[in-house]
Symmetry: C2
Subunit: 429 residues, 2 copies
């Protein structure tokens, strides 16, 4: 029998190259017409920790949003979901330390009061202010810190790399690093024959309670593209479904997942709608930012030491592929084995088999860390020393082919370590 | 507002008292006509560790079985499922150290060879020998240890408390204690007017890779009831669905889940079929043993420090109730909070809300450790000192009422501790 070749994962078309989409500086401030700030408002008992972020467009602009499907959705989600549906916004205000979730009507009232303070500072309608909160669930959110903090944040607003960074840091909880990404590309300008440069960027926070179902905890994206609200919403929904919604740290969907896109139109491009030639490039750029941020979330999952990518091939349909991928990605046994550098691929097989998706075990192939370990349901000899060396890298690829059909899915996760238990055993205290 | 009373969990009818079912000694040997053994066969490289169990009826008898639904079901499952379907068996042979899963056709062949050796020792048809294996997945099972081990086990067979205990110990892997239970009760005798005493007992192993879907890893039950195969299967299936199938340690359904019931008929009762007056008592006794063993599995979950009981009330239907209960029971955030003695009930709310079951958060009540913490979606003041005291006990009750309908579900689990990571980070090494 000849050498067994690793499974080939379809790389997809290289969309970014095709559309000339390249990374750029600036994060959430990459887009023209956007200012940001992250300040220490003493919302969480530490006067030296940034805990309040504000992202504002220079003028009212197009917005889109996707939110958690958790039934216990938080007050800021309830308020923002309704407001984002109008397709127009001016700013997003975010806080860490308190999720304002399971706080009832009083929590909704506090959220609206915070938005009103922001609106007064910016001179806009309070309906144009969206919100995001992250932190402890079930604790009343005090308005006090916002009364002084929001004016401070409004004064600090700036269009700069540093301001974007400050905002990204202000929403961190158990995150160990701020998570930012931005890209630029050219589209048709608003004058015949001219070209316009469009920027897309943003930041996200997320580390635990991560199995987003719509979006992930507190993501703000901005663009200077001139784009219709419908096209913005469509691009955002498409991107989140393929990026944030494919990340799982601990299978726990948050009460506060929020992803908001502000589009200022300052790039001076020909307005993009869903029928525009440039809509595909716009979608690809939004997806590129989301995918960068999604991978950062998985890599920075609470206690994580590895970024794990699970590819499922050969499924009957996409739903089956995703069910199997998520079953593997959420298996505590798979995740602890990876933490322990144990090439225990039998747990990958068991996780694939347990989720109710139909296949024949004797049609299944598995690669772990790029090494074929199972072919047609039969184990292959494995060089344990080689596997240990491969575990030294920062990423762990798992590929499984079910041998049923042609559908595929990719899900990102991380390993499960002691540190996850430490972080979550006394989160409130 | 008056004192808020804890939610009342329906206790169910006291079936055991109604049927006069009382605990007795003997475990898997409580039933007349059953002998057991657990010996050191050196199957796992430790000559002083019991690793081979044998449970044999004195004669061919009625059997029933339920097995994992994992698509990667192990070789012993494939063989036993087919044989148990015939309703007749003589013995069950079990080993720890190697699951004989993902081992292909050679694995099935080894399982059949092991059964043949048992059959030769007992003088029965090899089709009457069922098997169970637990341990590493994907490693070929060597026949050698069984060639000498099975005759040793056959010689050691005895009808005693100690023999039952030895068998229960031989199937342990990461289990920290053997898990046995047995009950006795009276039913109609085979002669008019006479009464007969029936025994039901068994053992189970299970600690990790526990979210049984049909049964749980390696459970052998025995009874001396004279019962039809159909009635035995119906009673077993009903019991497992309410007991083993409601336990989750880590949401990972094993490749090897196996629960087998042998019924010798030695009690001399009037044969029980599904229409017998005594069928309900028989079912209740089987369920009592299964529930005892299921709770032991949850309490002995890998690294567990607490037995957690999740009761969901007020659901629209049983499926919804179970989905919510399982979502809470499998939430790593809920489980780590319990390990950390953190009364972070917001995570219970978030877990209930994430699973797609429809309810209004403002209809929901939650009790944690017997203390009302949420009523109609609003948090109640909580005495943290009192909660810390309540966390000292061995059990943590969580009750959530969805306020939709009248359906309920109960699921058992354990907390998630450092020890789980230690145990599973290097399981194979």
């Amino acid at each position: 029998m000849g050498a067994i070749r690793p499974l080939e994962v379809p790389s997809g078309t290289d969309e970014l190259a095709a559309f000339g989409i390249t990374p750029c500086e600036g994060g959430v401030c990459a887009a023209e017409g956007i200012r940001a700030a992250g300040v220490c408002a003493n919302l969480r008992g530490d006067p030296n920790r940034r805990d309040l972020a504000l992202v504002a467009a220079d003028n009212s602009c197009v917005c889109a949003g996707v939110f958690t499907q958790n039934r216990f959705c938080a007050a800021p989600v309830q308020v923002s979901r309704e407001r984002a549906a109008r397709g127009v916004a001016r700013a997003v205000v975010l806080n860490s330390g308190n999720a304002n979730a399971s706080t009832g009507a009083p929590g909704v009232e506090v959220a609206k009061r915070v938005a009103a303070i922001v609106a007064a500072e910016l001179g806009c309608d309070e309906e144009e202010v969206l919100l995001g909160s992250t932190g402890v669930i079930g604790k009343p959110l005090e308005l006090d810190g916002f009364v002084s903090g929001v004016p401070m944040a409004a004064r600090a607003l700036a269009h700069s790399v540093e301001a974007a960074h400050d905002a990204a840091r202000a929403v961190m909880t158990t995150d160990t690093m701020p998570k930012e990404s931005s890209y630029a590309f050219e589209v048709a300008g608003s004058n015949d024959g001219a070209r316009a440069t469009v920027h897309v960027g943003g930041f996200v926070k997320g580390s635990g309670m991560i199995q987003p179902n719509m979006a992930t905890m507190l993501c703000v994206l901005t663009t200077d593209a001139d784009v219709t609200a419908q096209a913005a919403q469509a691009a955002l929904r498409a991107a989140t479904s393929k990026t944030f919604n494919k990340v799982t740290v601990d299978s726990d969907t948050s009460t506060n997942d929020t992803c908001i896109l502000l589009a200022t139109g300052a790039a001076g491009n020909a307005r993009i709608d869903q029928d525009s030639a440039d809509f595909a490039a716009f979608c690809a750029a939004i997806k590129a930012v989301c995918e960068d941020l999604a991978r950062m979330i998985a890599a920075d999952g609470e206690g994580a030491t590895k970024l794990v990518t699970v590819d499922v091939l050969g499924a009957a349909n996409e739903q089956d592929a995703e069910t199997v991928a998520r079953s593997i990605a959420n298996s505590p046994l798979v995740k602890t084995a990876i933490f322990g550098h144990d090439a225990n691929w039998g747990r990958v097989a068991a996780a694939a088999g347990k989720c109710g998706v139909d296949f024949d075990q004797y049609d299944v192939d598995i690669d772990l860390l790029g090494v074929p370990v199972l072919r047609k349901g039969l184990p292959l000899p494995m060089d344990e020393e080689d596997m240990l060396r491969r575990f030294e890298g920062p990423e762990v690829p798992i590929v499984i082919s079910l041998g049923v059909g042609n559908a595929t899915a990719r899900v990102w996760t991380c390993d499960l370590s002691h540190e996850y238990i430490v972080i979550n055993g006394d989160y409130r205290t």
